[in-house]
Amino acid sequence: MTPTSSSNIVEIRGLTRRFGGLVANRDVTMDIRHGEILGLIGPNGAGKSTLFNQIAGAFPPSSGEIRFEGREISRLPGTQRCLLGIARTFQVPRSFDSMTVVENVMVGSFVRHSAARAARAAAWQTLDYVGMADRGESPAGELTPPEKRRLEMARALATQPRILLLDEVLTGLTPSEAQQGVELVRRVRDSGVTVVMVEHVMEIVMPLVDRAVVLHLGQVLAEGPPKDVVRQDSVITAYLGERHRAA
């Protein structure tokens, strides 16, 4: 069930974030459309993480607005954004190591179910959905890194989000693991969840995303379908700038 509405789920206007003297995001304006997979890319230090964290609610912007389904949320704490339907993963998976895998996911499903039995059932369903049901009773600390990534996603999905923010969820995976990850992301989108991915691994991400937004030095450099974005001169210079000049 893929929504075909072109209305925006998130609208960002003039977002700026300073850390002391450093301007990490400068006047970022962009939309995230319902039901799309959006790639947030750019060279190191471009401000992707900062933008990502502001959408997730880790810290507020210095100025500018973020609208979620029409509602202004830039000052809303991350906990409440989760309740609204904004879920996120962390770049380095942060599992709850004193609990089992299913218990980890339950922390997510408790957002929507207050009774433990219902939360547990929902957690098992989510684990099955991501293909980790066989690891459900294992202590979370014993998972391999790719499994931990998947747990991060399962946990976030258990909160029944409307938009899922993925932070470098495909980095450092083997080709087959990455392929599984891609399939999962597609399935999530197909179930009606908008996905925003911060990524570095171009070959895998570009075929996956519907649109890409390129950030450079804190500003939006380009946006559009991946094929077009990749060919723009400004984008090529941003990524290969030094080599170009040196040559």
């Binding site: 991350g78 989760c82 879920a87 609990m99 922390v107 098992w124 369903q125 976030a156 029944q160 179930s191």
Partner: protein, 341 residues
């Protein structure tokens, strides 16, 4: 809420929830078995000294269980829980000695006051992390001790003596026979155990453990960290105060050093640390080891002057903290766990 729900429930998932229910049920059975054993012991043990040890073991198991709610499950290490113990003891004693109000009311009131105090203190303290929080709890408890020392209404350094009253359940005084105290101590333990059991399987229990492991990740999953910590503190303080009320009734005389000194704060956290911090049975196992050992060293090694009890405590804590932070219970594999470790 979202279209995602319908499609996330794609295939029929294997639901081993029956397995988890089974594990939980087993814990209750173990509790019943433990109570049965103690009931049998009651008939076998007639020596007053041993009865005393049993009462104290049960009491400290209950108190450590209460401490464990905040320290073990929620991960906020308090080194000043004697404060709440003292509030319970003093509320009960003051009301009974001064106004003849039965200890049962004092017990409840003491618990409520403690919980409120914990919320107020938590409001300030929970913005502190790790060791800063621990030190703050220590300091606050010391302030409490000093204030009581200097308070004439509460008897100052002389404390409060319970007036002689007829034996009976109403006044919680049993001068001739220790048996009822054992029942009370057992009841105290059962109540705190049940509270922990219920919490462990509830949303609060999961939130607390998430906060303990990674509070930022917990926040991203909708957990209200601050409010959760406050709830844990309130529940923990309530039961600690109830324990204090029992203790006051048991010894019938309290003074600041006998109920609010740092020694008690220590005795509340050690059994949990020793037995298994953050587990259902850890505090009980720890108390079972620690309290009889303390009493034995005290009587056989001639008074507390030798320092051997301190050497044993200190050594035990160090060994557990360094070699086996999960506690003695973890040596028995999965035994004694409800749905979590």
């Amino acid at each position: 809420m979202s279209d995602a729900t319908a499609t996330l429930a794609v295939t029929a998932a294997p639901t081993p929830s029956s397995k988890d229910d089974g594990a939980r049920r087993r814990q209750v059975l173990i509790l019943v078995a433990v109570c049965a054993v103690i009931a049998l012991l009651l008939f076998a043990v007639t020596d007053v000294y041993l009865q005393n040890v049993l009462i104290l073991t049960l009491m400290y198991a209950a108190l450590s269980q209460s401490w464990n709610i905040l320290g073990g499950y929620c991960g906020q290490i308090s080194l000043g829980h004697a404060l709440y113990f003292g509030v319970g003891a003093y509320t009960t004693s003051y009301l009974f000695a001064g106004y003849g109000i039965l200890p049962w009311f004092g017990l409840v009131l003491g618990g409520v006051l403690s919980a409120l105090l914990a919320l107020v203190l938590g409001y300030f303290c929970f913005r502190l992390k790790g060791h800063y929080f621990a030190i703050a709890t220590l300091v606050i408890a010391e302030i409490g001790l000093l204030l009581v020392h200097n308070s004439d209404t509460l008897g100052g350094a002389l404390g409060i003596q319970w007036p002689f009253a007829a034996d009976g359940w109403a006044t919680m005084q049993f001068a001739r026979n220790k048996l009822p105290y054992i029942y009370l101590a057992l009841a105290l333990f059962v109540v705190t155990w049940v509270a922990t059991y219920v919490i462990e399987g509830s949303r609060w229990g999961f939130w607390w453990r998430a906060i303990k492991d990674d509070s930022q990740a917990a926040e991203s999953l909708g957990v209200e960290v601050f409010r959760s910590k406050m709830a844990a503190a309130g529940v923990s303080a309530f039961f600690t105060a109830v324990g204090g009320a029992f203790y006051a009734a048991f010894v019938a005389y309290i003074d600041p050093d006998s109920v609010m000194s740092f020694r008690f704060s220590l005795l509340f956290c050690l059994p949990a640390v020793l037995g298994g911090i953050g587990t259902l049975w850890g505090p009980a196992v720890g108390a079972l080891i620690l309290i009889p050992v303390t009493e034995l060293t005290r009587s056989y090694l001639g008074g507390s002057g030798s320092g051997l009890d301190l050497i044993i405590y200190g050594g035990l804590i160090m060994i557990v903290a360094l070699a086996r932070p999960e506690g003695v219970l973890s040596l028995f594999g999965g035994a004694g766990k409800g749905s979590a470790r």
